[in-house]
Amino acid sequence: MPDPSFVFAQSLSGLTAAMFLFLIASGLSLIFGVLRVLNFAHGTFYMLGAYVAYQAMLWLGPGPGMFWIAALGAALTIALLGGLVERLLFRHLYGKEELYQLLFTYALGLILSDVAKIFWGTQQKSVSRPPGLTGSFSFLGATIPQYNLFVILLGPAIALAFWFVLQRTRVGRFIRAAALDRETLGALGTNVDALYTGVFMLASFLGGLGGALVSPMRATVPGMDTEVIVEAFVVVVIGGLGSLWGTFLGALIYGQVLSFGILFFPRFSIFAVFALMAAVLIIRPWGLLGRPLR
């Protein structure tokens, strides 16, 4: 029987990982839900978010609050970049064959990551945890870094804000309508093009924010984009592409399975996650909380 404090610590680390994944996967899921494009370049937006946050920290210096300005600035920069990419490139993808879309977004990811290499080179970059959240505290015998706790609280806050916007606001109604029937919405006089750009920018913002917030916990290196996109993809497949709470649930499951998986299959915990994804694909191909595609 494992020590309860260990079980607690382990579930918290699973939760932290889950909330990061949620930040990234929610953008992926949103773009797919509304624009019907599986954006493989989303992982690269996440990586660029981390790099921009690093760059902003270099310019701003260490002072208090600087990290938050850097993180927000990075997320906004990536949102702008996302807006540009949507306007100039993605526009031509809608309604095209899925294979074509996939190849295009994959290529875009490769190009953007090479651009990142031109700016920041191949050396690993590192951002410190923000002052005020550098410590840790003990609870039930487990050590919990303050920053991890912040991330654990941020995840549900973003999910709720998201839910509120989608379900309770006028913009949210348009977004949901666009996901269901783009033509009819356009025929009714809504500027669907602007709506798509807005959705894409929001998704890119979340991806960039994920990257910026992850930078105090992980090294910022070339290649971090391809790692995260695979994880985010597993999350949305488990939870259901296009479903907000499905993505949230998928992220929670992913985090816990990975955390506790290492107790049962020490060298194959990643296998447990993929096995779960395969099982979901067989039993509910549209994911746990997703809707079957028409």
Partner: protein, 394 residues
């Protein structure tokens, strides 16, 4: 097949029959220049290029200039093989110096054997490369091996006042091999030490929290890690946040170059100062005039006040090749291969010798406890010791 044949024919026809002496000696260098491993591959090619520029300025080797042709191997065995073949068939390179990962090295070794071309591996550590069943007359290594690295770490940990140790390594060839070498050697020289836990995250893991929690639940007194490069930055940041280094009182050794100036520099104040680590080189070592001189030149060449610790591997690889060509008096691979056997070269880290029996150089690494030093804005190893592996290479 026909394709290869036409290429060969084209190569033969374009080969000038005269002016052999003026023709440069071409050296092909497959090295990862993209993706995370480019972090080491890129400076290694620059170290090699610096050597080439310097020797050409002095008139080259046997009156011929050296020419370095680098290709991106993408840290992938298939790609490394492809570019190695391209370098041999299309570019007519005389020698190969290169590869980084333990997958690329052995794959390119096969190409070298087929084409009877000398191949010097400056970075791959897997024992496989020069194992008895894989060894052939044309493959040589100037990198440390997993056996040498694991045993060096065991020699250090054996001196610590701890009764048990845990290990943290990636679950693939390098991680497994270096950890096995460490554990076996430690058990041999200090049988009283227990191995209480072994964690095997997948290569490139981004979230170490579950592994660290699981490991700390076993209450280890010391930890051996082979999490390398940028991955060490991620691992140690998360371990530090969880208070791991304090709990084990900094009885931690990170092989896989966890104490390179690149890593400590990029982490700044976040580096877990007080742990032990290793590195192929450190600009602040300066033990010998040769090393100080090399560092000054490299610093100028790279325009970097704190030059890379990986450049030296490309430099030493080229150094061995040039010395062997001189000794052989020819750029013929068969003669150069013979010349490399037992060859001793004065490198910036001191004299290194390629052993006749396994074509392996006694390349040790720098080890030390990391400390803060007022002279630098990042942690350095102090005292830093060059661990010569000659005693425990077999």
């Amino acid at each position: 097949m026909l394709h290869v044949f036409t290429l060969l024919l084209a190569a033969l026809l374009t080969c000038p029959l005269v002016a052999e002496a003026q023709k440069p000696i071409k050296v092909g260098m497959p090295m990862p220049l993209s993706g995370p491993p480019a972090l080491f591959g890129d400076p290694a090619t620059k170290g090699a290029q610096m050597f080439v520029d310097e020797i050409n300025a002095k008139g080259g080797v046997l009156g011929r200039k050296l020419e370095l042709l680098t290709r991106d191997s993408k840290a992938d065995a298939n790609e490394a093989v492809r570019v190695a073949r391209e370098l041999i068939l299309k570019e007519n390179v005389d020698f190969l110096v290169g590869t980084l990962t333990s997958a690329e090295g052995p794959a390119v070794s096969v190409v070298a054997k087929e084409n009877k071309i000398v191949f010097i591996a400056p970075i791959p550590k897997t024992d496989q490369l020069t194992a008895a069943d894989k060894l052939h007359p044309y493959v040589f290594r100037v990198a440390a091996t997993t056996t040498m690295e694991g045993r060096s770490a065991a020699e250090i940990v054996a001196k610590w006042p701890v009764t048990n140790v845990a290990t943290m390594s990636f679950d693939y060839a390098y991680g497994q091999d270096v950890t096995r070498a460490f554990v076996d050697h430690l058990k041999k020289i200090k049988p009283s030490v227990q191995i209480v836990d072994q964690q095997w995250p997948k290569l490139g893991e981004q979230d170490y929290n579950p592994f660290i929690n699981a490991q700390m639940a076993k209450k280890p007194e010391a930890i051996f890690s082979s999490i390398w490069g940028g991955f060490f930055v991620t691992y140690s940041k998360q371990a530090k946040a969880l208070g791991m280094f304090d709990t084990i009182k900094y009885n931690f050794i990170g092989v896989g170059e966890a104490a390179t100036p690149e890593t400590t520099k990029s982490m700044g104040a976040d580096y877990p100062v007080g742990i032990w680590g290793n590195s192929y080189d450190a600009f602040y070592w300066g033990e010998t005039p040769a090393h100080r001189d090399y560092t000054t030149r490299l610093s100028k060449y790279l325009k970097d006040e704190y030059p890379s610790s990986w450049a030296i591997q490309g430099y030493i690889g080229m150094q061995f090749l040039a010395e062997a060509i001189k000794k052989a008096g020819s750029a013929d691979s068969d003669k150069v291969a013979k010349a490399l056997l037992g060859l001793t070269v004065e490198t910036p880290v001191g004299p290194l010798t390629i052993r006749e029996k396994d074509h392996q150089a006694n390349r040790g690494q720098l080890y030390g406890k990391t400390v803060k030093d007022a002279k630098y804005p990042f942690a350095i190893m102090k005292p830093v010791t060059y661990v010569d592996p000659s005693r425990f290479m077999d």
